[in-house]
């Protein structure tokens, strides 16, 4: 990695659920691992998330969702990112996502889904590993 370069991460909560404890814990853990984490608060539209990722020039996006609307919202987010030619951004997700939906979401380009019980170390290591593979 070049001198001065920091990993920039957007932690976003798409949709209408208002449980952000998980998102905030992940945001803090990534910060404590030396990353710059942009947190945008609750109830973000796919458009807001894609636009924020663009303006902030992030390397990673973490999506947190507990409402069950992932099959509607994630495809829209991934399409907007693609439209903006931001396919080099690594996207992962977490929250309450049923096992049977995982394959479908991964097909959209979401790299990994972290369910309840995942440790923050696992997520940190995953982010570091997947970025070092790219560089």
């Amino acid at each position: 990695m070049q001198k001065g370069k920091k990993i920039r991460v957007l932690i976003a909560k798409p949709g209408l659920d208002s449980h952000d404890r998980g998102a905030k814990i992940v945001a803090r853990a990534l910060r404590d691992a030396g990353m710059e984490v942009i947190y945008t608060g609750l109830r973000q539209t796919p458009e807001q998330i894609a636009e924020t990722a663009l303006q902030e020039d992030v390397d990673v996006i973490g999506l947190s969702i507990l409402s069950g609307a992932h099959k509607t919202l994630f495809p829209r987010i991934m399409k907007l990112l693609k439209d903006q030619k931001m396919t080099d951004v690594m996207v992962f997700a977490g929250g309450i996502i049923p096992e049977e939906d995982v394959a479908e979401l991964k097909k959209l380009g979401i790299k990994e889904i972290f369910g309840p019980g995942t440790t923050t170390e696992t997520i940190i290591q995953y982010v570091l590993d997947s970025l070092s593979k790219k560089r």
Binding site: G4, A33, E47, Q55, D57
Partner: protein, 320 residues
Amino acid sequence: MTKIDEIAKGVLAGNKRSIARAITIVENEDPESQRLIAEIFAHSGKAHIIGLTGAGGAGKSTLIEKIVREYRRLGKTVGVVAVDPTSPFSGGALLGDRIRMQELCNDKDVFIRSMATRDYVGGIAKATKDAARILDAAGKDVVIVETAGAGQSEVEIIKVAQTIVVVHAPGLGDDIQAIKAGIMEIADIFVVNKADREGADKAVIDIQSNLQLNGKERPWKTPVMKTVALTGQGISELIDKIEKHRDFLQGNPEFKNASARTKTEEDLIDAVKEIITHSLIEKMKKDGDFYQLVHEIMEKKTDPTSAAKRLLKKTMKNET
């Protein structure tokens, strides 16, 4: 065309992806960043750059959201650079200023960038000035820089902005204590935000009397405004004052030029320092004397300044 040329061209055309990339390049101190700035520099200098500073919790982010809306209503395009502190322990940062500004995200004429201080002191990041410059060159009419929560001596913002707004709120610290030194003197406009709270009028009077104590008759009289950022109260009056300050700078070229000249001098000195640290120190380290001198200093045979002089003398001789 190289990558940097392409990004510079994109910035000048107002392309968001290019603006975002350009800011990353200056932030990371990419070796190419100088060339990027060189290419856009001539196109900067048109935007009005406003600095917002003050203690954490005064309501700076919420205030900025309202200021941006008001400028948009007036038909102006806006860029925002919002600075938050880097943890000195982990090197990481949590950048949360956007939480209060996300509604602006859908406006194509607003560009917001969060920035961590990254080891730099004074309430801004080293790259903040260049980020503002990039947004300026990209054609934004107004660029707003929000500093990290600042108390007394975090006054680096004066190197970046033309109009400085210092934000205070009643109940933050021991009234005027919280804003007494340094930061008091850099304000072009004072804002007491959360003015619907108890103690707002007293805060205004405190600040006013403090400003009077500064004594010196100045051509621009620093006003003290009251706002309630949450409801938008006092925002259009604040914009009026900011615009008045801008007119004042334009109507008093001697004042404007003097401050511009000082800023430019500092820019030049900073640039010289930058080059010295990068090239000269690299060269010095390659010379065997460097580590010999480190050894001598540790042995107390010489002191750091004398050693530095010897080293410089030798390196400069080899240079010419």
